[in-house]
Assembly symmetry: C2
Homo-oligomer: 401 residues x 2
């Protein structure tokens, strides 16, 4: 199958591209390298030493991988997007190419607007290009479990049957996103739902939980195939951050009470979920939503698990509460459904195993590259400022806004 | 009270500005005149002869009105928005300044993206400016009843209590918007809700129904104060269009079965609702939603009412079904709550009276200016093309997209 992976140089996009290529698909990576640029803006880098994309692709071919194509450009550039879809006529488009860090979107007005503009308009261009040049193509779009927030009722997969004043309807699940970034994904979801309705587009919205890990069977084949591992306060998700904190002997920093509960999944399950969605496409006109995670944990639980696992490696860790820079409930109900991908055949990796075999060991292996400063929270949700850095009002990448 | 009216030169903004000025407030109109520019793009004009804004403001002073200020600029220009709010430190901002026509947003990709970009990013700039320079200011934002779509259960005012699997929560009402324009308003609502949560902003989201009429007590004082009256297929709402069709002896054109039911209100109630919202501001941190309409009608009912009223003026009309260019249900349940503005003291004008005293008579008075071609639907929801015009891919106003 011909598949475009938008954002194929990123944390989820790169291992997904290799996984799909390995499964026999014709993969073309599309990227504008803005994620690498943001590393320079924030003054941080992946814990794992990531080589350039051209070098990565060369390594993939050298290790016997099916050739993966490359298209460099920006989804905000309609001529680029239109030409891309027209030339390749893909059967599936996997869309990872959005600014994906909630804290990044909270740094300043400029960062908030960059995030919503880049994500919403880029996605609109993708929708229009598919409709015009490859209307049968299946869009597999990465959303986030954060679209739902933390309601006091069970979270369903995208839609909920509501009985109200004696009548019933199945409606889009109400959204309570918690950052300018999460909001951008809610906007995307609404836009895609509408495209399916008016054009008969087929789309799967994957509301992904917090991803952890870095290794997949493909990225392990050669060290130049290594995946990113972000542990900084802006792009590093909580579990990756705990692992590197443990590895370098820093206390595990829990924001507030640590009762914040979320869905999590291993990067090896991310790539498999994408494949399952592609192999079982949505119908024409169907907008379906899968909640893409395998286990739920509170931040407090995670800290405990990392601490225990580290002890088995002979590393002692301490858990430290920090004032919460975010505006969020620190103790709340959380019960989110996630059966649709399991029904399609997902066989989850579990955190208890992954911690020792592909998380802490990676963190320990590369701890010499870790920058302690980078893990401390500096973006404040209320003031929208990175308090310990010089004030930045605009993102560093080129922008016309 | 110092009040900024964003989009104060437009169909709702102009009479609102005069109404608030007449009520003793210090009003500053903010506008970029893009609505006038779009008339040129579409080759249409207001049925009523509208003079320039400077001339309008001069006429207002000459008729004894309290001086109304003017700031010309674009909400996409952060320096302009920031300077505006910093200089005026308003107690209320009324935000009408968005592209407001569903059909316009459906003309082409360029029009869809213009609409979402202009509305969403402009509104974000307003939010950030209020938070930074006038954090106690009350934002009164115009949304639309179209955010809800036509669910098969009662529509509540912004939030709904949901009981699910034995638990309960009050959550944002699910949204099913029916055009790229309606989607932009849904995006705005989510963004504003978040601003209230993280910054303690106070905001009222007015989900307005379809507005009809053109006359208010203030616009009647002098002919240079006359309000817009749009009857073209893009900006003319259904009732205004029926009135001009009746006045010029054209059949009343009903899309499809005509069972599409919506909430409606008189422009005289729009201006009063805004005043009520301002006089009874939201609390700090409160995001409240009012459904702003007074009566509901199906398109079929409206056609019948216009036809009957026209007969009383000695004008015979015929009702004609046309293929529906939109993707929407033509027969559906519709029961939307709208008690919150009534609770604050709104005394509605009713359509049965307005038809003869301020709608058909205006249409008849100005029918010599009517362009028959302009009322026929040319924007197709499915193909996103204006079929009878030369194909336009990009909007005519300056845009960097």
């Amino acid at each position: 199958m011909k598949i475009l992976v938008l954002g194929g140089d990123g944390y989820c996009g790169w291992p997904t591209s290799l996984h799909l290529s390995d499964a026999g698909h014709d993969v073309v990576i599309v990227d504008n390298f803005v994620r690498r640029q943001i590393d320079h803006e924030l003054g941080v880098q992946s814990l794992t030493p990531v080589v350039g994309l051209t070098e990565r692709l060369r390594a993939w071919r050298e290790t016997g991988g099916r050739p993966v194509g490359l298209e460099v450009g920006d989804l905000l550039d309609w001529d680029f997007v239109a030409g891309l879809v027209e030339r390749h006529r893909p059967e599936a488009v996997v869309h990872f190419a959005e600014q994906r860090a909630a804290p990044y979107s909270m740094i300043s007005r400029g960062h908030a607007i960059y995030t919503q503009h880049n994500n919403v308009i880029g996605n609109l261009n993708v929708l229009f290009a598919i409709n015009e040049f490859a209307p049968d193509c299946h869009l597999v779009k990465l959303g986030t479990m954060g679209e739902y927030g933390t309601p006091n009722i069970d979270i369903e997969e995208g839609f909920i049957e509501i009985e109200h004043n004696g009548r019933k309807d199945t409606l889009p699940y109400p959204k309570q996103p918690g950052s300018w970034y999460h909001l951008s994904k809610v906007h995307d979801s609404h836009n895609i739902m509408f495209a399916c309705k008016i054009w008969g587009m087929r789309a799967t919205d994957l509301n992904q939980g917090v991803v952890y890990g870095t290794v997949t069977p493909q990225t392990e084949r050669n060290e130049r195939l290594v995946n990113r591992f972000d542990y900084d306060e802006v792009f590093g998700t909580v579990l990756n951050r705990f692992c590197i904190q443990a590895a370098i002997g820093h206390p595990l920093t829990v924001y507030g009470e640590g009762g914040q509960t979320r869905g999590f999944l291993d990067i090896r399950d991310t790539v498999r979920c994408i494949e399952l969605a592609i192999e079982n496409p949505a119908e024409r006109g169907e907008f379906r939503v899968f909640n893409q995670f395998t286990e739920k944990f509170s931040v407090r639980q995670l800290a405990g698990m990392v601490s225990d696992a580290a002890a088995k490696l002979g590393v002692e860790t301490r858990i430290e509460k920090q004032p919460n820079p975010r505006v969020e409930s620190e103790e709340h109900y959380y019960n989110a459904k996630h059966t649709r991908l399991l029904d399609l055949g997902l066989e989850p990796h579990y955190l208890s195993d992954a911690l020792l075999d592909s998380l802490l060991n990676i963190a320990v292996k590369h701890r010499g590259r870790a920058d302690l400063d980078a893990v401390n929270p500096r973006v404040d949700w209320r003031t929208g400022r990175r308090s310990l850095l010089e004030e930045v009002d605009e993102p560093a990448y080129p922008s016309t806004l």
